[in-house]
Symmetry: C2
Amino acid sequence: MNIVLLSGGSGKRLWPLSNDIRSKQFIKIFKGADGEYESMVQRVYRQIKAVDTDATVTIATSKTQVSAIHNQLGESVGISVEPCRRDTFPAIALATAYLTDVQGVDPEESVVVCPVDPYVNQDYFEALKGLSEQADKGEANLVLMGIEPTYPSEKYGYIIPESADETSMVSTFKEKPTAAVAAQYISQGALWNGGVFAYKLKYVLNKAHELIDFTDYHDLFAKYDTLTKISFDYAVVEKESKIQVMRFAGEWKDLGTWNTLTEAMEENVVGKGTLNETCSGVHIVNEMDVPILAMGLHDVVISASPEGILVSDKEQSSYIKPFVDKMDQQVMFAEKSWGSYKVVDVENGSMTIKVTLNPGHAMNYHSHQHRDEVWVVLSGKGRTVVDGFNNGITTGDVITMKAGCKHTVIAETELKMIEVQIGSEISVDDKQKFEL
Amino acid sequence: MNIVLLSGGSGKRLWPLSNDIRSKQFIKIFKGADGEYESMVQRVYRQIKAVDTDATVTIATSKTQVSAIHNQLGESVGISVEPCRRDTFPAIALATAYLTDVQGVDPEESVVVCPVDPYVNQDYFEALKGLSEQADKGEANLVLMGIEPTYPSEKYGYIIPESADETSMVSTFKEKPTAAVAAQYISQGALWNGGVFAYKLKYVLNKAHELIDFTDYHDLFAKYDTLTKISFDYAVVEKESKIQVMRFAGEWKDLGTWNTLTEAMEENVVGKGTLNETCSGVHIVNEMDVPILAMGLHDVVISASPEGILVSDKEQSSYIKPFVDKMDQQVMFAEKSWGSYKVVDVENGSMTIKVTLNPGHAMNYHSHQHRDEVWVVLSGKGRTVVDGFNNGITTGDVITMKAGCKHTVIAETELKMIEVQIGSEISVDDKQKFEL
């Protein structure tokens, strides 16, 4: 099976765990098979591999997620990097070209496209295999998954199938309706459209060549920023008459808000937290080092990270976005290609961060114009290059770098350091990169 | 007026703002006259001085609070330091001896004793003056304040006066009753016992000499740890027949729990915090640098500090103590005689703290056996002494100190530093002090 996982933007609905840099799909919140916590993307990847060890998994995403994906899934997963956001048709076209031109998949083969963040069981992935096999048959150009509705939701589009058969031609599509209209649709046999579908690669390649002037993946990648924003629904689905839908009746949750996310959590507390005996329906997700104590609360979610602290009635949590938009908080932690960092102190004229480098990784060789920096090695082994000079470093070593001085650090083992930045203007933009 | 403020122990009922080192009376939570936040102790001190600029104020407390008191009230306030806790009779005897032998107050003068943390208006302090003047008359050996009850509380002891006059002899005392019994007492004209009373210094000095073998303040201080724990009520009040009570009908709140504390707050949010429009009766007290967002909550208190995060229904918050007792959290911030510190990162084998020294202050000259330390100066000017060598320091300077090396820093201006401690055993007990 070839599968393309669409990994969406930053999203603020799960603040303070998601931020401008970290998307919800990378939050380690689910107890995995081995008792370790795993993220949505790790869970889905594990589930795909359990159904089909040979599955070719490609994640279609933006540059900002590449580090997190490699950190969480390793290096073997395919990544189709969108140079900028251009809506779903260009993204799916690019991923399709990536599969044929980079991964060398035969254009006659089928691919399944699905979001990276459904909370589902193995039967869902069995169903994806079914979609792929159905697409192989070539009875239709697109084969959609139709999810059997459990309530008249206003959040989803609806698919009206021609028949109640397991696999049916699609009669028509309906936009997100009101609850009353949704109930009507459902009485007519409508299914939720979860944005999951399969097609033969050549079908979308042809569509792409019709709409975009490009030769191959690399050409498409190079001119990506010139493409018009257009959705796959609008560019392809609405114009296609040969579409089938396959029913899926298993559990399917869209974990877009704290309310739905906490429903999927197996434990009430992730991280340091205590609920007293008068709490009910309370979830704590705590990424800070300090304890949280909750007393006498009902149906409340509490989440804390270096970005901030949310305490919300679960229903209310779906209205979070405008409040988070208003916050002008600098990014307090981030995963990078080389590891991660966390801001531990901010002052006028200084910022102190904790840096963790993964073994074998290095920062870019870089300098800053407006700040001096000091590194204090907390643990691990590695070496620094400072203005061209190499030095081994280990626990307790101190390295001082004046503004303008070129520097990097290469980790041999996991390397933890405190970095003190001192200067009147401290900004992430004050960075010049150099070849080492 | 001579006044002794009894400043009690650490108290965990206002966790995470109070901890083993910082007591609730030092939390800056009230908007003062100048718009700056002030603590309970600052508020009470300001109120006393407004009623009587010449008042001799003495705070009876333990050694751990001395730094915080000087930081918040300056150097002119008297402090009677209890070398260890020995209940209220020894504490009041020591403070009384301190007033006569150290402050030189005439034993014929009166003193008013009251807790350091009532939330009251100016009329309360006028009433204290009244108590003191009544004690001066010598009609009774003790003059108590009787607070007119506003409800049949189970939390206070009751005083039954002989008459309904403004000033009356006390008929009898009653222990904390049930609400039903309290209502009975109140119908008989009972008053709350707020632990506020006045006496002539010589009265308690004589009582002290009857019960304890000592010569003067210094002798009493020296043998303090040998004294028997006994309450003032038990040792003095219950055995005394000549006791008067003066009525007080003004506002009086005991801010011992989050529930009562938040009632006294003028603003719903202290620190970084946002309440959405569906919140009601919610208070945020945030001492962290990150924002708190509260949505859809009712009658909840949220408090965050480097020690932890509390989210509690206000009623439930009075049951906090056993939960906090169970937490084995190291102290994450503290006020010291020289300034303050805050833990910003803890790892196996290292701890990083942020140190702020007040101008003109210095740490002890000290060394550690099991850890190396690095200082990085974030801002300010001062000088260090490291193994006897003096050095001026300023922003950006780095000082490294190996285990065993003696060191201190003296601040000329306010001085902020990051201190990285590295060693396999990091403990506050690993400290040897030296003369400079």
